[in-house]
C-alpha cells in the first residue's frame, strides 16, 4: 500500500471506498457464481446419489445434509463381561468366522461402509494368536427425535481371540 503522504487524502478516501466496494462486489459475485455452478449439476456415484458436482472444486458439501436412517451401527469388540473395545485396541486377531466378504455375518448392519472396510483390513493385517475371548459385533442404536439413542442390538460378526 502506498504511504499516505504519496496521495492526497481526498483521493485516498474516494479511492479506498471504491476499492472496498469493488472487492466486496467481486466477492459477492464469486460466491453466487460458485453456488449456482456447484448446484446446477450433481452426478450419482457408486457411494451415493447426487454426490458430485461438475468439476473440482465445485461441490455442494452435502455429505451430512440428509436425514439419517432410523438406526445407526458401529463395529466393536465385546468381551464376556460386556465391556467394549475398539478393534484398534488390539494387535493380534484369531477369528473363527470371516469378518468380510460374501460369507460374513451382519452385512446388513455394518454402519459406515469405509469403516467396515478399514476394520476388516486391520483384522486381516493383524492376524495372529490371542488369549482374550471377544465377539466382534455390529452394535446398532435406534434414533428418535428429542431422545437419546437407544441401544438396539448386537449382531455377532465373529468370535475372536485377541491380544493387545
Amino acid at each position: 500500500m502506498r504511504p499516505l503522504s504519496e496521495v492526497g487524502s481526498a483521493y485516498l478516501y474516494r479511492g479506498g471506498l471504491t476499492i472496498r466496494l469493488s472487492q466486496r462486489r467481486f466477492g459477492v459475485l464469486c460466491l453466487l457464481g460458485y453456488v449456482a455452478l456447484a448446484w446446477s449439476v450433481r452426478f450419482d456415484m457408486r457411494l451415493g446419489d447426487q454426490i458430485a458436482s461438475l468439476v473440482y472444486p465445485l461441490d455442494t458439501f452435502s455429505m451430512y445434509g440428509r436425514m439419517p436412517g432410523r438406526d445407526s451401527s458401529y463395529a466393536l469388540l465385546r468381551d464376556r463381561q460386556g465391556r467394549t473395545y475398539r478393534v484398534t485396541d488390539f494387535s493380534s486377531f484369531d477369528c473363527a468366522e470371516p469378518v468380510a466378504g460374501a460369507n460374513a455375518q451382519c452385512t446388513d448392519r455394518r454402519g459406515i461402509p469405509y469403516h467396515d472396510e478399514e476394520m476388516a483390513e486391520y483384522i486381516r493385517l493383524h492376524h495372529g494368536a490371542g488369549q482374550l475371548d471377544v465377539e466382534l459385533v455390529a452394535r446398532t442404536w435406534t434414533l428418535h427425535t428429542g431422545a437419546a439413542p437407544q441401544l438396539d442390538s448386537d449382531c455377532i460378526i465373529a468370535h475372536c481371540k485377541v491380544a493387545p
Binding site: 458439501f61 436425514m67 473395545y85 475398539r86 448392519r109
Partner: protein, 445 residues
C-alpha cells in the same frame, strides 16, 4: 474491512501454496490406497484402473506441485496457479471415480486457489497483475460459498428437522460407537445422549454455515463467523475424530486474518473501476436466480426419489417370463413398512442412479424395489422352484423382476443386485434368504 497489512499477502499465498502441495501429494497416496481397496472389492472399472495407476498420478501430482511452488514464489503467477488447480482437479476426479465419492476435505485448498486466481484475473485485466487484493477476497468468497452450500444442503435435503440434533447423534454413534475409553468419550456420550445439546450443536452448525457470506461484509462479522466455523470443526474433531485441517487453517488465514482491500501493491495504478450499481445489481439478480433454480432442481430430484421411497411397490407388467406366463408373486399387503430386509435397506444405492425405495417379503422370498431416472423395478429373490428363469438368476436362487423400465435400462440395476445378493448370501444363500425373510416378518409383526 481495511484491517490487515498489505504485506500479509505473501504469507497467505505461501500458506495456500503449502496446503495445495500437501493436498496434491496426499491425493497420490489416497488414490493408491483407494485403488488397492477397489481392486480387492472388484469395483474398479478398467478405465479407472488405468487412470489411477501411479504412472499417471505421480507425474500429475509432481507437475502440480512444481506449478504450485511456482505460484507461491511470487505474486501474480496466474498460469502457475492454474497448473496447480488443474492437477488438483485431475487427481480429485480420479480419486472420486476409484473411491466412489469425492473427498470434500481436499476441496478447500482448490476452492481458495480458484478464488485467488479469479482475483488475479480481475487485477490483471486492470493492468495490475501483481496486485493480490482481489485474490484474497476471491479466496474468502469461495471459502464462504462452500460453507453456505453446506448450510443450504441441510435445509434443502432435510429441512428444519436437521435442527433436531438427530443427524449429529447418528454421525457420532456411527463414527465412534460410544466406546468408553477416555474423557473425550464422556463428552461425546454426554452430547449425544442429551438431546438439547445435540440440538444446540445442530442449530449452531446450520447458523454459522448459512451466515458464511457475512464474512465478506466487515471485520467483525468475518471474525465471528470464522470463529464459529472453527469451533464447529473443533467440535467435530472431538466428537468424531474427523479433522478438517485444511479448512481450519484457511479459516484462520482468510477469516481471522482476513483479506485487506488495498490500493495496488505496486502503487502505480489508478484506482480500479468498479461495476456500476445497476450492472452489479443485475449480475447479482441473475446469479441469484441461477443459484435458486439450480438448488430447486436438485431439491426436486431428491424429492422425487424420496417420494418414490414412500410409495408401496406398484405391480407392473411382467417382463421376465413369456407373455402368457403369470407374473412373479406380488408382495403381500404391507402391514408395517419395512426399511430393511436382508442386505437391502431403503435409501441404499445399489447401482449408479439406482437406489432402494422399498423392501418387503413375498410368499417365499424377499422383494426390493429400485428407483432410477428410467423408472422403477421390483425384484423378487426366491429359492422356490419355478419353471421360469431370469437373466439375473443365481445357481441357487431366482431373481425375478416386474418392471415399468425399458429392458435396455434394466441391466445395470439387475447385475448390481445380483452381485450384491451373491456377496451377501454366499454359499448358504437359501438359508440366509429364509432367515432374512423370517427376521423381516418378525419385525413387521
Amino acid at each position: 474491512m481495511n484491517d490487515f497489512p498489505a504485506d500479509h499477502a505473501p504469507v497467505l499465498r505461501r500458506l495456500l501454496t503449502a496446503i495445495v502441495v500437501v493436498d496434491l501429494l496426499s491425493f497420490a497416496y489416497f488414490i493408491e490406497s483407494a485403488r488397492d481397496a477397489a481392486l480387492a472389492a472388484g469395483t474398479l472399472s478398467p478405465l479407472a484402473a488405468w487412470l489411477s495407476h501411479r504412472v499417471l498420478t505421480l507425474p500429475v501430482a509432481g507437475a502440480g506441485t512444481v506449478a504450485a511452488l511456482g505460484f507461491g514464489r511470487a505474486p501474480g503467477r496466474l498460469w502457475h496457479g492454474l497448473g496447480a488447480l488443474l492437477g488438483l482437479a485431475v487427481l480429485s476426479t480420479v480419486h472420486a471415480q476409484v473411491f466412489g465419492s469425492p473427498w470434500r476435505h481436499l476441496f478447500y485448498s482448490g476452492l481458495c486457489l480458484a478464488g485467488w486466481l479469479l482475483g488475479l484475473l480481475v487485477t490483471r485485466r486492470r493492468g495490475r497483475p501483481t496486485d493480490e487484493s482481489y485474490a484474497r477476497v476471491g479466496s474468502l468468497a469461495l471459502l464462504s460459498a462452500a460453507y453456505f452450500s453446506a448450510g443450504i444442503s441441510k435445509m434443502v435435503f432435510t429441512g428444519p428437522e436437521w435442527l433436531s440434533g438427530v443427524p449429529i447423534q447418528a454421525v457420532v454413534v456411527s463414527q465412534d460407537g460410544l466406546i468408553a475409553d477416555g474423557w473425550l468419550n464422556w463428552y461425546r456420550t454426554w452430547a449425544v445422549t442429551t438431546p438439547a445439546v445435540a440440538m444446540l450443536f445442530s442449530i449452531a452448525t446450520v447458523g454459522f454455515e448459512l451466515a458464511a457470506p457475512l464474512m465478506l461484509f466487515g471485520r467483525l462479522p468475518r471474525a465471528v463467523v470464522a470463529l464459529g466455523l472453527l469451533s464447529m470443526h473443533a467440535n467435530i474433531l472431538a466428537m468424531t475424530h474427523i479433522l478438517y485441517w485444511e479448512s481450519m487453517l484457511l479459516l484462520v488465514a482468510f477469516g481471522l486474518c482476513g483479506p485487506s482491500p488495498s490500493l495496488a501493491d505496486d502503487g502505480s495504478a489508478a484506482p480500479p473501476r468498479s461495476a456500476g450499481p445497476p450492472a452489479f445489481a443485475l449480475a447479482v439478480a441473475l446469479l441469484c436466480c441461477a443459484a435458486a433454480l439450480a438448488v430447486a432442481h436438485q431439491a426436486r430430484r431428491f424429492a422425487r426419489v424420496e417420494a418414490a421411497r414412500a410409495l408401496p411397490a406398484a405391480p407392473a407388467a411382467a417382463v421376465v417370463a413369456p407373455a402368457s406366463a403369470p407374473a412373479p408373486p406380488a408382495p403381500p399387503p404391507t402391514v408395517h413398512a419395512l426399511r430393511q430386509v436382508g442386505p437391502f435397506s431403503v435409501g441404499q444405492s445399489v447401482a449408479p442412479g439406482w437406489s432402494v425405495t422399498a423392501v418387503d417379503v413375498s410368499s417365499d422370498g424377499i422383494t426390493t424395489t429400485l428407483a432410477g431416472d428410467a423408472g422403477r423395478v421390483e425384484f423378487e429373490i426366491t429359492c422356490a422352484e419355478s419353471a421360469y428363469h431370469s437373466p439375473y438368476d443365481l445357481p441357487a436362487a431366482h431373481i425375478f423382476y416386474t418392471s415399468e423400465v425399458p429392458v435396455s435400462a434394466l441391466d445395470p440395476p439387475g447385475q448390481a443386485l445380483r452381485e450384491l445378493i451373491e456377496r451377501a448370501g454366499g454359499a448358504t444363500l437359501c438359508a440366509r434368504l429364509t432367515a432374512w425373510r423370517a427376521a423381516a416378518l418378525a419385525e413387521r409383526g
